[in-house]
């Protein structure tokens, strides 16, 4: 393969994280193994940050996660899980058992989907998938949590 080291590294990262074509000369089987291992590592990290989301997906977690993450490079496990949860909610596919976790995050932090999340200064009430969460003065109460 040709080009500067910077270009070649960028092309490899794009193939591993964004679904871009693999640059020539690499062993496709081995790079695919690395790509899947990377998705698994990220799945574990996001599950630690979003235990209710991963838990609600159960055995399908890795499938749900990798379908979403395969073309999206990481922006850190907090934001990755957040973006995925919002995406699932928009499609009406967010499991009810994961609603309170997203509502708590939405009520405590402000996140526009592009800049890093920041703490909310003002009180906020958020409802997600049947869960109600109230945040005031940094204190959070789950007012309603639907049965799983």
């Amino acid at each position: 393969m040709t080009g500067s080291l910077a270009d070649r590294q960028a092309a490899l990262v794009a193939a591993l994280t964004s679904g871009a074509p693999l640059p020539g000369g690499f062993d496709p089987r081995l790079v695919e193994a690395a790509r899947v291992a990377l998705l698994r590592k990220r799945a574990g990290e996001v599950a630690r940050n979003w235990p209710e989301l991963a838990g609600a997906c159960g055995r399908e977690w890795f499938e749900v996660w990798s379908a979403w993450a395969a073309t999206r490079p990481t922006r850190g496990s907090l934001r990755d899980g957040w973006d995925l949860a919002r995406d699932l909610r928009a499609r009406g596919e967010l499991p009810a058992a994961a609603g309170a976790e997203l509502a708590v995050r939405e009520a405590t932090l402000t996140y526009d989907g592009s800049a890093p999340p920041r703490p909310r200064r003002r009180p906020a009430l958020r409802t997600v998938a049947g869960a109600w969460v109230l945040q005031a003065g940094g204190r959070v109460r789950v007012l309603r949590r639907p049965a799983a």
Partner: protein, 274 residues
């Protein structure tokens, strides 16, 4: 590091209680990015420092092998953590983790070319300018190689170490994983490396997937073959410290103890467990 520290462990918040109760422990490592650069240390780390355990910051996000210069803010944090821990040395990887503004999310191999060696050497130099202590460089476990490699692994690593004057952090499990996946003899690499430059060693577990590829997971038990390789290495030149590196799926204390004791047995260092 001329002091013999013996058997150590990678400190992680999840096993802080366990590490606290290792009576003979003199050496631990912590992921540098997880340590605040100033103010209070996390509880468990502060207690380790109070009882005189040496704690080495282990960087994972500097991307020393990236074609782009290291981020000065990341280097400043790394150096501040080393001062915060009063560490005698720091460590990072011969790898890149981002390119073109995109995070890979993992340590990726760099091509074994002159151009890549130059990039690593330049980044290590930029990093060392901010550090008060030596740096040890760790070769990674790579599932694939670049198509345009010019140097073999021994020549590549030796050239980087010579030109950077860095120490070597040798991960015995990485040596095992790479050799297994490439179909080469792991111990043969020991003949090609400056073993006297080893600051310390990582020892970790992994597992093979059904397609026969061995993954250096840090979430599985340490295979007996890796312990045999530890014994082989120590027979040639015993490093001053060897540590267990576990990064998830933490087993019960008894299993961690068995792994630490197995590293002690393979290296001939005293046990650090109760």
């Amino acid at each position: 590091m001329t002091i013999e520290y013996g058997v150590g462990i990678g400190w992680r918040p999840d096993i802080a209680g366990y590490v606290d109760r290792l009576p003979g422990l003199r050496f631990a490592e912590v992921v540098a990015e997880s340590v605040p650069p100033e103010g209070e240390l996390p509880d468990g780390l502060a207690r380790l420092r109070e009882r005189g355990v040496t704690v080495i910051p282990h960087g994972t996000r500097l991307s020393l092998g990236g074609a782009e210069p290291v981020d000065p803010a990341r280097v400043a944090h790394f150096a501040a953590v080393a001062r915060q821990l009063d560490a005698p040395l720091v460590s990072e990887h011969i790898a890149f983790v981002r390119a073109g503004g995109v995070e890979a999310g993992h340590l990726l191999p760099i091509p074994r070319t002159r151009e890549a060696v130059d990039a690593v050497v330049a980044n290590v130099r930029r990093t060392r300018e901010e550090l008060d202590v030596p740096i040890a460089l760790e070769p990674i476990a790579a599932l694939f190689d670049w198509p345009d490699d010019e140097l073999d692994e021994g020549a590549f690593l030796t050239e980087i170490l010579e030109r950077t004057e860095a120490l070597l952090l040798l991960d015995v499990a990485n040596v095992y994983a790479n050799a297994l996946n490439r179909g080469t003899d792991p111990a043969a690499l020991f003949d090609r490396l400056p073993l006297e430059r080893i600051a310390y060693c990582h020892v970790a577990g992994g597992s093979a997937t059904p397609d026969g590829i061995y993954h250096d997971t840090h979430t599985d038990a340490v295979p007996p073959e890796v312990l045999e390789l530890v014994a082989e290495l120590c027979g040639r030149h015993r490093p001053p410290a060897l540590m267990l590196e576990r990064d998830g799926d933490y087993p019960p204390a008894a299993e961690l103890t068995a792994e630490l004791d197995a590293i002690a047995a393979a290296s001939g260092y005293p046990r650090v467990t109760p």
